[in-house]
């Protein structure tokens, strides 16, 4: 599904990714761990097509090169990023945002857009799965939401948009144990043979709930080590210093 070869990324004269290789197949869960500032969010941004990076190397998504595609085209083709810091958009109702988003994606795929009623039914169902109160959905997008509420809202969006590749950037940071479990359940319930996950995290505790197929250690812009779920457990004990 995703093939990254020798990826380099530079922004504002800062060389951040320095030759990164990664292959992800449908149905797989990959975890990326690594020290602060190692380039994890940069990788997420480059994959989702954020402007401003100077890119070298090659990224193929389902066999197609991503370099020519805009952020929204990538989203329309099924790449989803749960933001480390979800943005507030004052005056825009959460429901409106979700519906605009879903319908833009459907339109781009030549599918029928959802009418208000069908959409509300869908959103209600998904929200209740995540224990999100309905009132929440008529509030302005992320405005005044707590950290945990913002993260849950990202997972709600993921479940509604049904992406093929979901990138979660520190979605677990700042969550209490209950919220963490809800987020993990959200991911597990969406996981299937066709879609894949790239989960950026600092903590093994998330990986206790979502069992990764691969764990990668990113340091200094490169993947320094790759292992299975055991690697995560080991890292929790020893820290990064032995590896990087």
């Amino acid at each position: 599904m995703l093939n990254i070869k020798n990826l380099e990324a530079t922004i504002d004269n800062k060389h951040i990714l320095k030759g990164l290789n990664l292959d992800i197949k449908p149905g797989e869960v990959h975890a990326i761990m690594g020290p602060n500032g190692s380039g994890k969010s940069t990788l997420a941004n480059v994959l989702s097509g954020k402007n401003g990076y100077e890119i070298k190397g090659d990224i193929k998504y389902n066999g197609e090169s991503l370099s020519e595609l805009s952020t929204e085209e990538r989203a329309q083709k099924g790449i989803f990023l749960a933001f480390q810091y979800p943005l507030e958009i004052p005056g825009v109702n959460t429901n409106t945002f979700l519906r605009t988003s879903l319908n833009s994606i459907k339109k781009a795929r030549g599918q029928k857009e959802l009418d208000t009623l069908t959409f509300l039914k869908l959103v209600k169902e998904k929200a209740s799965e995540l224990g999100i109160n309905e009132k929440f959905l008529s509030r302005q997008l992320n405005v005044g939401f707590s950290g945990g509420e913002k993260k849950k809202n990202e997972i709600l969006q993921m479940k509604i948009l049904q992406p093929k590749l979901s990138i979660l950037d520190e979605t677990d940071s700042g969550l209490d144990i209950d919220a963490l479990r809800i987020v993990a359940d959200g991911v597990n319930s969406y996981k299937n043979k066709e879609n894949a996950f790239l989960i950026i995290t600092h903590y093994q505790r998330l990986l206790d709930y979502i069992k990764p197929d691969f764990v990668h250690v990113l340091s200094n812009g490169k993947i320094m080590k790759t292992g299975d779920a055991e690697l995560g457990i080991q890292l929790e004990k020893t820290g990064y210093s032995n590896i990087v």
Partner: protein
């Protein structure tokens, strides 16, 4: 006639068509002869002509103001036509069937089919095409309630006592240059009278359109809400694309008596000029409402997306005790458009309240200025004002300015002012793009969110149109 520039590059302005109808015009230029011509063709009574001539006399000693931010090339008032009417209107049609089909076609293109669709929407429309009111729908239904909704020309003929009493009572004859110019040469506009204790059962609406070239449009609107009455009035404006600048200097007077409420909404989409700043309307308008009675309320809502220059300050004079004035504004300027707009709230009565919410959005090379006066006089005890001015900038070449003038003359009253200026946030755009919205959808979503408090004030069917307009006016402004 000058050749018209139906600029093909400017695909954004969907109202940029002209209609080919024969016009009757006044002599060119501003003179007593022109004024007599206008008054004569409208078969006005003598008092009206005298009123106009008095205004013209005053005009000669007034100077065009120049304190505003947007400067414009000197207007040659002798080079304008002050009256231009579709020929078929000179004998007033008695029903819609008698109206030139081409004019009706124009309204269709504007999205205001006079006949069926507005009936469904429950809006009564008075349409002003160049200088005369063409047709007023729903007259019968309104008449039953004693509501008068007609062109000002008809009101001068049929309700002279009301016109004499109220015309110029809020905007005096010699108020300032453009208002006085309007008083001398106004051609048509709408007149509304709501009798005591009557709630107008539908939104009243006027559509203005400038069609003929080298024509100034000077309409005059007078709305009187008698004791305990309510009316909501909507005004929409469009004009064809031309490479010359056209002047629009309207006067709007509102009068609310005891316990009456007037809600006045404008969606202004005059031709803004092309992306190089050629052409476009000069929108120099005087709008003023008097809360004459106790507990009365006047609320202005405006969405200003068009015109090369917009220069207007819809105001409230809060005379009656406990009266309320509100001003909700969205002003969008793109390319080389300029806006200098805001409001005046003059508190005279006790316990009077005013609220100002202004949202200015600037893109391209445009300039957007909020200028507002809040004055609480010494007898207006326990009065309050709340003002909030937010500016949103898109790009680095545009400007936003806020100038509040505040005068509080008594200690029991309070004035609060908040102002913010923000740039459209790249991260927010990225977030929207990541959710599948393209750049234009993202901008439209964020800007409409920014304007929400004002859009909420508009009647439903206008709010939808206004949201689309907001999006269209900013197309191509980011990215």
């Amino acid at each position: 006639m000058k050749t018209e520039n139906l600029n093909k590059n400017n695909k954004d302005y969907k109202y940029g068509f002209t209609t080919d109808v024969e016009n009757i015009r006044s002599p060119k230029g501003l003179s007593e002869e022109t004024i007599r011509f206008i008054s004569n063709i409208k078969k006005e009574p003598k008092w009206m002509l005298e009123w106009r001539l008095k205004a013209f006399k005053r005009l000669k000693v007034l100077k065009e103001p120049d304190w505003q931010k947007p400067k414009y090339p000197k207007i040659n008032y002798q080079n304008l036509y002050y009256y231009s009417a579709p020929k078929s209107a000179s004998e007033k049609p008695k029903s819609l069937d008698e109206i030139d089909p081409k004019i009706l076609e124009t309204y269709k293109k504007l999205g205001i089919p006079l006949v069926e669709q507005k009936r469904l929407n429950g809006i009564a429309v008075d349409a002003v095409f160049d200088s005369v009111s063409v047709a007023t729908t729903f007259k019968d239904e309104l008449t039953k309630k004693g509501i008068i909704f007609c062109s000002i020309s008809e009101a001068i003929q049929n309700h002279p006592e009301l016109v004499k009493k109220y015309l110029g009572s809020v905007i005096p004859l010699s108020d300032h240059y453009f208002a006085t110019l309007n008083s001398a040469v106004f051609t048509d506009g709408s007149f509304v009278y709501i009798p005591p204790n009557t709630k107008c059962p539908m939104e009243l609406s006027t559509y203005f359109r400038i069609n003929a070239s080298e024509t100034g449009q000077f309409e005059r609107t007078l709305i009187i809400a008698d004791k305990g009455s309510y009316v909501s009035y909507l005004e929409g404006c469009t004009a064809p694309m031309r490479d010359e600048n056209q002047l629009h200097a309207a006067n709007v007077e509102l009068i609310a008596l005891d316990d009456a409420e007037i809600k006045y909404s404008t969606v202004q989409n005059w031709y803004p000029g092309d992306e190089k700043g050629i052409g476009g309307i000069y929108n120099f308008v005087t709008k003023r409402g008097a809360c004459k009675g106790k507990n009365s309320k006047i609320s202005w809502t405006q969405v200003e997306t068009g015109s090369a220059i917009t220069w207007k300050y819809p105001s409230c004079i809060l005379q009656g005790d406990n009266s309320v004035g509100e001003f909700y504004s969205i002003a969008i300027t793109n390319n080389f458009q300029k806006a200098d707009t805001g409001t005046k709230m003059i508190h005279l009565g006790k316990n009077t309240k005013s609220k100002i919410i202004s949202k200015g959005i600037s893109a391209g090379n445009a300039d957007n200025m909020y200028r507002g006066l809040v004055e609480i006089k010494n007898k207006a005890i326990n009065s309050r004002n709340y003002t909030q001015c937010d500016s949103l900038l898109m790009g680095n070449k545009c400007g936003a300015h806020t100038i509040p003038y505040i005068k509080n003359n008594n200690a029991s009253s309070t004035i609060e002012h908040e102002a913010t200026t923000t740039k459209i946030n790249e991260e927010q755009l990225y977030y929207c793009n990541q959710r599948g919205l393209d750049q234009e959808e993202a901008v439209s979503l964020i800007v409409n969110g920014f304007c929400k408090e004002v859009l909420q004030q508009l009647p439903m069917e206008f709010a939808v149109e206004a949201q689309k307009l907001v999006a269209i006016s900013l197309e191509g402004s980011v990215g």
